[in-house]
């Protein structure tokens, strides 16, 4: 019985080939530590376009590459913590992603042509995460923003409970595309603990689904609508979707009532 993951790669030359400006790496069966070391090495040597093939479960792809002009294409399901603590690169996944994508990401862009798991964008501080399909639980938990650093997550399908939990800043968008009619677009406890940032949901959310700190607006102010449209235009471009079709259905805006929701909770 052979192990699924090799730590030692004696000869990378079998696995790496160059096609124009693209460096293609066969990552099949390579342990994440060895693989990521190689990818960082390629990026540090000036490589700007890297394609990883036969990925399956390797964690931390993109982590530690702090360059804005690096593009990495990923074929196969990446492991947890895709783009964790990342600062700059563009990652594009042609498969489903797992948990903790964009964990505390500083900047960059991550695009997932599939669904993604739980705890996406935990503490995300900047950059963009676009997921074509459904997302799991606790998406956008404790996202932050400051000045011009405003992170954004756009998910094309449905989301589980605790969407936007404890948000302190940033933009979270849920489109509900391709969902079954009896399916809810989002779970319970939406925006629980939110005290900054904004959530846009393209579908119905009932009052009992909302955290107690959440306010709802059906009519979105013009300036904010323009910002949302700009974000969606970029999203649609990445996935070749029709922006007008998406805009046909109205959005709800969910926002925090106050920046200090627990002011009265403590007695001194």
């Amino acid at each position: 019985m052979e192990t699924a993951l090799n730590w030692e790669i004696d000869d990378w030359s079998d696995r790496i080939k160059t096609e124009g400006e693209k460096v293609i790496v066969d990552a099949g069966g390579v342990h994440y530590r060895t693989l990521n070391e190689k990818v960082r090495e390629l990026a540090n040597q000036g490589g700007k376009f890297i394609e990883l093939r036969n990925i399956n479960g390797q964690r931390y792809l993109g982590t530690g590459i702090n360059k804005k002009d690096v593009k990495i294409i990923i074929h196969g399901t990446p492991g947890n913590d895709l783009g964790a603590f990342m600062d700059g690169p563009r990652l594009e996944v042609f498969a489903n992603a797992q948990d903790a994508v964009c964990n505390t990401m500083n900047s960059g862009k991550v695009i997932v042509h599939g669904h993604a798991g739980d705890v996406l964008g935990y503490g995300m501080r900047g950059g963009k995460l676009y997921v074509r399909g459904n997302v799991g639980y606790r998406v956008g938990i404790h996202m932050k923003a400051y000045g011009s650093m405003v992170p954004a997550i756009v998910a094309g399908g449905t989301a589980g409970d605790f969407f936007g939990e404890y948000m302190a800043g940033g933009t979270l968008v849920l489109l509900g595309l391709g969902g079954k009619p009896e399916e809810r677009i989002v779970g319970d406890w939406v925006g629980t603990g939110i005290h900054g940032g904004v959530i846009y949901i393209r579908g119905e959310v009932l009052p009992h689904q909302l955290g107690k700190e959440v306010g709802v607006l059906e009519k979105i102010p013009e300036k904010e609508m323009a910002e949302l449209i700009a974000l969606l235009k970029d999203y649609c471009q990445e996935f070749k979707l029709d922006l007008d079709e998406i805009l046909e259905k109205p959005f709800l805006k969910l926002f925090p009532f106050t920046t200090r929701p627990y002011g009265k909770l403590y007695a001194y």
């Binding site: 605790f162 939990e165 404890y166 406890w189 629980t192 603990g193 955290g211 909770l265 007695a267």
Partner: protein, 501 residues
């Protein structure tokens, strides 16, 4: 000759005092007088701080009388004075509120666990945290039948009482406390969606609208028990005993029985309301079963709670009570409060509620009958920490008496039995009663329980628990610090340092 010197001394700063007379007016004990200046009669002072609270100039203070006996670890001033009083009167010395003597407090030797790394704590502010509790008997198992591609229950749904927070208001009779205090408890129970017990003084007709949050007591004196009364509550409570005075009956002096109490209790004005020690139709456990079912028949089978004091054989008693048909067991520990009790009974009888809960919970599980009823624990529940620990030991819910009165202004001066409560709580004197605004009292009670609710949720979250049934009886989350091994074994709790498993 005054053999017995006053317990307290009243200090008036005559420079600050502006002789407004508020203190004189406020004192229910007649300890102050205004002549050219405020004069005090310290013998009458109960140490209730009403004067201090209402003085606009903070010119008055109450302190312990510094007059000292020679230090003596054996003959305490309390014991010496008790002998002086008995030598004078030849009577039984009465007190109020709960046991104040320095027995070890088990809850103060229990510490709670918290989750780290291997198990996350849960965020009570942002994620669900359930305190809802259903009190009463459950079936041992559920029978199912198929129905429309799903399942239906063949078994009857249990006849339980729902409370949104496992903190109830202990029975304190209308008579031992004022109408306004009693009303405040009813209002708060409704606001919090919890339950209050009437105590043996019955329920005034004006408060019948609160019936959905009240459990009616049937005690040995059978005060005010008629059929409308029986049916107005969500259930009934049979009082066998009380933590502060196991084995003896209630005592309401004639001074505390004006017209309205007379009407509610259905006894003549001015007589003493002495509850007999035993219920005269319960001399043995099978008699209890007869009374329980009599009440069930009379009320259309509403749940019946039986209240007992925590005594040595509490495990066997509790088992017998559940098998006799009770849906709830209310256990009152030896530190429980009272409106009047002899010192000797209050201070020397009974066992701690922590032990009683642990013993009863374990015993019922061993007999396989834990599902027959729920355990309500009382007897000096002083804080949210006490609540959490008692539930972890095995209680389904707790009841607060003293804590509720303190929320309304009580200073535990232990003079309830005199009926002169300056705070309008343990008195029937109309001029004192009107000082306690029921709405204000209810608001303070609601604040107290809500504050505890937040604290309970906080520590449950720290323990990684989001539903209280996972804390109930989960002694694994407790550790004992400074308790002997016998006590630890009885509690079913490990000593600090032991890990899980």
């Amino acid at each position: 000759m005054k053999m017995i010197q006053p317990d307290f001394r009243i200090e008036v700063d005559q420079d600050k005092c502006r002789k407004c007379g508020r203190c004189v007016f406020n004192c229910g004990f007649g300890a102050l007088e205004l002549k050219e200046r405020i004069i005090s009669d310290p013998e009458k002072c109960a140490g209730c701080h009403r004067c201090v609270t209402f003085c606009p100039e903070q010119a008055i203070n109450v302190e312990l009388n510094p007059l000292s006996f020679r230090p003596n670890d054996n003959w305490s001033p309390f014991l010496i004075k008790a002998i002086y009083k008995q030598a004078e009167s030849g009577g039984i010395l009465l007190s109020s509120m709960g046991n104040d003597k320095p027995y070890p407090i088990i809850n103060d030797h229990l510490l709670l666990d918290a989750c780290q790394v291997t198990n996350p704590s849960i965020d009570p502010l942002r994620e669900p945290m359930e305190l809802r509790t259903y009190l009463g008997r459950r079936p041992e198992k559920i029978d199912f039948e198929k129905n429309n591609g799903g399942f239906k229950m063949k078994t009857q749904a249990p006849n339980t009482l729902k409370v949104e927070v496992p903190v109830l208001f202990a029975p304190m009779s209308y008579g031992s406390i004022s109408y306004n205090a009693f009303q405040a408890l009813c209002m708060a129970a409704k606001e919090l969606d919890t339950l209050m017990y009437t105590g043996e003084g019955g329920l005034p007709k004006e408060l019948y609208p609160y019936g959905d949050h009240i459990l009616i007591q049937v005690a040995s004196g059978r005060f005010g028990v008629q059929s409308e009364y029986l049916n107005i509550g969500k259930g009934t409570q049979i009082k066998i005993g009380q933590g502060a005075k196991p084995g003896i009956g209630g005592h309401l002096p004639g001074e505390k029985i004006p017209r309205h109490i007379s009407e509610t209790r259905m006894i003549p004005e001015g007589t003493d309301a002495l509850s007999p020690a035993p219920q005269h139709d319960i001399y043995s456990i099978e008699d209890l079963r007869m009374l329980i079912y009599a009440l069930k028949e009379a009320t259309g089978y509403k749940p019946v709670c039986v209240k007992i004091a925590a005594v040595h054989n509490v495990g066997a008693i509790a088992s017998g009570i559940l098998r006799a048909g009770a849906d709830q067991i209310y256990i009152d520990g030896f530190r429980g409060g009272t409106g009047a009790a002899p010192f000797i009974t209050r201070d020397h009888l009974g066992i701690p509620i922590e032990i009683a809960v642990a013993v009863v919970d374990q015993r019922l599980r061993e007999e396989g009958i834990r599902h027959l009823g729920t355990i309500v624990a009382a007897g000096s529940v002083r804080s949210a920490a006490d609540v959490v620990k008692l539930i972890a030991l095995g209680a389904d819910a707790v009841a607060i008496g003293t804590a509720a009165l303190v929320a309304m202004g009580c200073h535990i001066c232990q003079k309830c039995h005199t009926g002169n409560c300056s705070w309008g709580i343990a008195t029937q004197r109309p001029e004192l009663v009107r000082r306690l605004d029921p709405e204000w009292g209810a608001e303070r009670l609601v604040n107290l329980v809500r504050g505890w609710e937040h604290e309970i949720k906080d520590v449950m979250g720290a323990m990684g628990i989001n539903a209280i049934e996972s804390l109930r009886g989960n002694r694994e989350r407790l550790r004992g610090l400074g308790l002997d091994s016998e006590t630890l074994h009885t509690l079913g709790v490990k000593a600090v340092g032991a890990s899980m498993g």
